[in-house]
Structures are given as C-alpha cells and as structure tokens.
Amino acid sequence: MPVGGRAAAGATALAGLAALIGGAGLGLAYAAADDWGGALDAFDPYLLRVARFTLWQALLSTLLSVLPALFVARALARHPRLPGRALILQLFAVPLALPAIVAALGVLALYGRAGFLAELLEGLGRTGWPGIYGLAGILVAHVFFNLPLATRLLLESLESVPNDQWRLAAQLGMGGRASFRFVEWPALRAALPGVAGLVFMLCATSFTIVLTLGGGPRATTLEVAIYQALRFDFDPARALALTLVQVALTAVVVLALARLGAAMTGDASLPVAPRRPVTRRPAESAANLALIAAALVFVAGPMAATVLAGLGADLMRLAGEAAVRRATATSLVLSALAAALCLVLAFALVAARRALELARGPLAAPTLFERATDAGAGLVLVVPPLVIGAGWFILLREAGDVFAFAPVMVVTVNAAMAMPFAVRAIRPAYDAASARHERLCLSLGIAGWTRLRLIDWPSLRRPMAMAYAFAMALSLGDLGVIALFGSDAVETLPYLLLARMASYRTADAAGLALLLGMLCLALMIVSDRLARAR
C-alpha cells in the first residue's frame, strides 16, 4: 500500500505543530523555573473568578447560538425554494470571515452607548441607553458569530439526509412535528455535539471580543487576563498560572466532547441539490419565515452598522496615511503566507489520516499516530493561539528583541489556528474522493504527485479554495498574536485598529473596520467565484 508518502507528510505536519506548541511549553516552563513561587501565588481568587466567568460566558454563548440555530437550520431546510435562500446562506458565511474586531465595532456601532440604537431611542424620547459593555456585549457578539456558523453546519447535516427520505416523508404525509422527529432530529442530533463543541471552544478561547467588549475586570476571560499579564504587568508567573488553567479547562471540555461525539462519523455523501417536496402548514411556514427573518436581522444588523459607521469616517484621508498603507500591505502578505502554510498542514493531516485508515482496514482499531492526525486539528483549539503566543513571547524575550519575531509568529500561529477550519473543509471531500478512487488509483498505478494533480486536485479544488479564503480572512483579521507581538515596526490592520480605538479615535477605527471587513469579504467572494468556475 502506498501509505508511506502520505503518512510521512502527516508526520511532518504533526512535528511542526508539536514544535510550535512545544516551544510555547518551553517558554512557560522557563517562566515557572524562574519564579515558581510567584506562579503558585497567582492561583488566587482573581484567577478563580476569571476562570468561572470564562466558562459561564462560553456556556451561555453556546446555548444562545446553538438552540436558535437548530430551528433556523430546520426552517431553512424546510424551505428549499425560499427566494433569497442562497443569499441568506452567503450572508451567514460572512461572520466567519469577518474579523472579530470588526464585528465588535459593528456591535458597538449598533448597540453601544453612542450607537444607532441609542440614537433611535433618543429620537423616541428615551434617553439613558446603558450601552452594551460587559457580559451582554460579549454574548451578543458571540451569538452574532456563532449562530450563523451553527446554522450552516446544522443545515449541512440536514442536507446530508438522502433525498429519498424527504420524498418518503412527503409521501407518508409527515407534518412538521413528525418530520422533525423522524427525519430532521436524527440528523441534527448526530451533528449537535460536534457543532456545540466547536462553538463552545470558540467562545471559551475568544480573545478580541472580550478584550474590546468586556469593558473591565468584571468581564475578563483567561485569554484577556493572560494578555494583560504579559503586555501590561510583565508578570510571566501570573501568565503561566492563567495559561495552565486555560489549557486544563479546554482540554477537559474537548475530552468530554470527544466522548459525547465519539459515534460521529464524517459523512461522505455528496451534497444534494435542495430539491425536495416538503409538506408545510401555513402556520408552520409563517413561524419558519419569522424565525429566518429574525436571524437575518440579528446577523445583518451589526454588518450594516459597520458599513454605515465606516462611511461616516474620513476614508480618503485614511487611505492616504502611510501607517494605514503599510499596515494593509503587512496584513495581506502575512495572511497570504499563513493561509498557504495552513493548507499544506491541513492537507498533509487529512491525507495521512485517510492513508492510515485504509492501511489498517475497517476492523482494526486506529493507531495512536492516526488518532494524532485526526485530533491534531482539535489540539490547536485546546492550546489557543494566544497561549502559544504567550509561551513564545516568554521564550523569545530571552533570545533578544521579541518584537522582531512578530512576522514569523503571526504566520505560523495563524496558520495553525486556521487549520481546524481547513481540515473541516477538505476532509469530507478528500475522503469521499478517496473512497471512490483509491482502488482505481492502485490498479492503474497512479500515485504521488501525478495522483495529486490528476485525481485529488479536481475534487479538492473547491474546498481548498474555500479553505484558503477562510484561512486568509481569519488570519487577516486576527488580533491574538499580533496583540502580543505587535509594535510600531510591525503593525497589521487589526493592530492599528485597536490602537485607534484605544486612543478614542472612533471615526478612524470605524473607517479601518470597514476597510478590513471589505478586504476579508472580497477575499471570500473572489475565492468562492474561483472555486465555482471550472
């Protein structure tokens, strides 16, 4: 079996990831050796409170995102020919590509103390809108991100129900409730642990939203506390304690979810065109449409606010600023590199996992190595980018000028951070293509580069392009690592944006947010088009 090449590629990718995470661990170990007493002292009530808040907000965010998403996804599945359905789904893909800092500004522009909603209320004679800092702001922003994400993922699981089953349900005369019970819920239930887990992880490790919307020590998560410990207090001992708690928490959650979702298998069925007969009563249709409309307003609101607020800024002056131009160029180059590295990593892991699975046969248990290629993607979520950044920050401080390493750190950490998404995009297509072509390739002797070019690439082009766009957009808008490593010498757009926000240049920030949002969006649209064109 030609397992060797693909397994070696996977091993290399894993080694790279291990080096990245291991280096961070080394840095933290160094800090511990330096001041272990300080690290122990850091396990104080403050840390406990921060940890509790981290979990609490993640739990609430997950519930508020996934529960409505179940019903929105179902409503969309039951209206396969709704006018504008494709547009809604595209709009729901935007938050995933939208930088957190842009969304945070959008939420503030809409619901903030000086936002559009406050203006509206004032116009109606009601003053004193309290704004949206703290837990409420964090929740709104998290739901803004994760409701559309969960909806799309759950809808995907519904679309994987064979078309014949929808037909059967229609023929048997199943109404909304029976159809939910027999057709939709089994598909949703299978996807639910994975989706809820992903959302929980994203919220538990969310940094930018909490940094910009938390608004104080009462609403601080572990990640933000780590950042503050390193960047403002220069307290590696405290950062170490916080990091350990963060990693332990996320590891526990990931393990629990792996238990819960163990029966989940990646579906290899081809996407069916949503052409199915659905029997709906008028009342159900009305409820579905109202639900979709509400979700649409909630998701589109902050986006519209971003655009409106951005257009209010002096865009021409901003575009002429040298700092803005330099930050834009830096952002584009670094994110392009990060996305390329991300795809290489993801593809190596996906191909290795499949090759190892084939080599062992369906009956044998997966080896540790195969599991590593499988869970390698999830591992990055356990060790959040900011934690990796923190470890390297401490380590590199000993090696010289920390800030000189900014480009390397941003590219590698962002690539690793985006990898789970790339794996999600590539793996089903790769496994499906492999299931169809593996034996044929073996019998015809097509292997290695030829196989990649002739057999794998055509079926992977679209998911790869999508993954590249997502990876680049994610990295373009990331504020995790650059917040630690950024300086006047290496500024990305999000870093510049944060600086303008911090110095209360709100109009500038809104203009930059519009620019950054547009860049990410354009990227996604272009790549989507490229992927569609044959």
């Binding site: 014949d164 029976a178 089994p186 007969p277």
Partner: protein, 262 residues
Amino acid sequence: MTGPAGAAIRLDAVRFAYPGGAPVRFDAAVEAAEIVAVMGPSGAGKSTLLALIAGFETPASGRILIGDSDVTGLPPARRPVSMVFQENNLFAHLDVAANVGLGRSPALRLDAADRQAVAGAIERVGLAGKAARLPQALSGGERQRVALARVLVRDRPVLLLDEPFASLGPALRQEMLALVAELHAERRMTVLMATHQPEDAARLAGSILFLADGTVAGTGAAATFLSGGGPQAFSRYLGDRRIDVARPRENDRDHGIARKTP
C-alpha cells in the same frame, strides 16, 4: 382487508424540466391493475416520470390523472400512491415495525388494529420475528421487504417501483419479483416499475412503457417488445438480451438458428 383495486393512470401532455436539465414531455395511459415496466436508457426520464406521478415534482404544464381524479396539484401524501426507491427506503434509527407503521400513521400513533396490520404485513413479506430489528441489522433484500410491507399497510391503488431490486443479486431479485407478483395478485394495485432488466419485465410486466430522450417512444405488450417485435429503438436498447417470454430462461438470440435441429 381486500384493499382497493388498482386505479388507471393517465398523463396528458405533461411537461417538466429540472433546472438546467433537458425538458421532458409525457403522454401515457396505464390501465387499472396492470403491471407496466418502464424501460429506457439512463437519462431517458424513468425516474422523472415516477417522481411526477408520485408528486415529488410538479409539471410545468399538463395533467396527471389517477383513477378519475386530477392529482396534478396534490401534495405527495394526498395521492393514492406508494413508492419504493432503490435504497434509503427506511429510517435508519427506527426498527422494522416502526418503519412499517409509518405507512399507517406518519406520526407513528398506532392503535391496536394498526399494530395488527403492521405485524401481519411484516409476516406477509417473510420477516416474521424481525419486527424489532434496526435496518442496519437487515440484508439489502430484507430492507426492500420492509418497504413492501409498508406498501401493504398503506394500501394505495398505485405502486411505483424505482429500480427497487437493482442492487440485489439474481436469486434475491427473483424472490422479490415473485413477492411483488404475489402481492399484486392479492391486491390488484396498478404497478409501474422502472427497470433496466428485461428479465424483470418478462417476469412481471404485462406491458412495457419505453422512454427515450424524455418522452414515451413506444408502448405495447411485454411479450412482443421483449422478443424483438417492438420499435427498432427498443430492440437496440435491449441489444442481445432479447427474451422469449414463453421460455424466460432461454436467451435465444436468433429464432432462426435456434429452430435448426442438427
């Protein structure tokens, strides 16, 4: 329960096209209680025809009549039709009894009489003792038997079979065809069966509806068609699989040679 006798089916100038697909136009009449094999090359429109009759797709124009009533605008559940697909006929998380029971009540609210009917149907298709199994514990043939049991408890005048036995081996297929023949003898429903296998048509069908390029290219007695007496296009479609229906086992390609005795 004797069940309703079959209903006649008529398609009047039915036009339809999938988005981006080639348009089809069907004119056809099937008599009540007949068994008709729907044959034709892949892409000729066999599945489309069945989907239109079942109501999964709505014609752009034209009328579909079942019995005396126009069903063109009716949703699938309100049509007097049951359908068996090639696969995915069963809900994987429901046991055999529940899958059959759905034919009685789509919300699975079954009274004692329903349960009895379900048990009877499961026994009738030869799955006695397997009512509590999940589909994954059944063979391919057994799954299709469950689908047929559901057809029995639904008891509709029209049965549509969309290549239902295409993925079964020859012996199993023979068994399933025999079962369909028996059920038809008991219930006298009208059966439309899409198939590529001349043997299926020879075994079951009284007549053949031949489709080509999205339209009905010929109809006639199965015996005539299968022995080479149908339209030229149908004989080309058959190739060398011509069958003398009187002796279905024999694949006598050329009657002239077969008759020559040494």
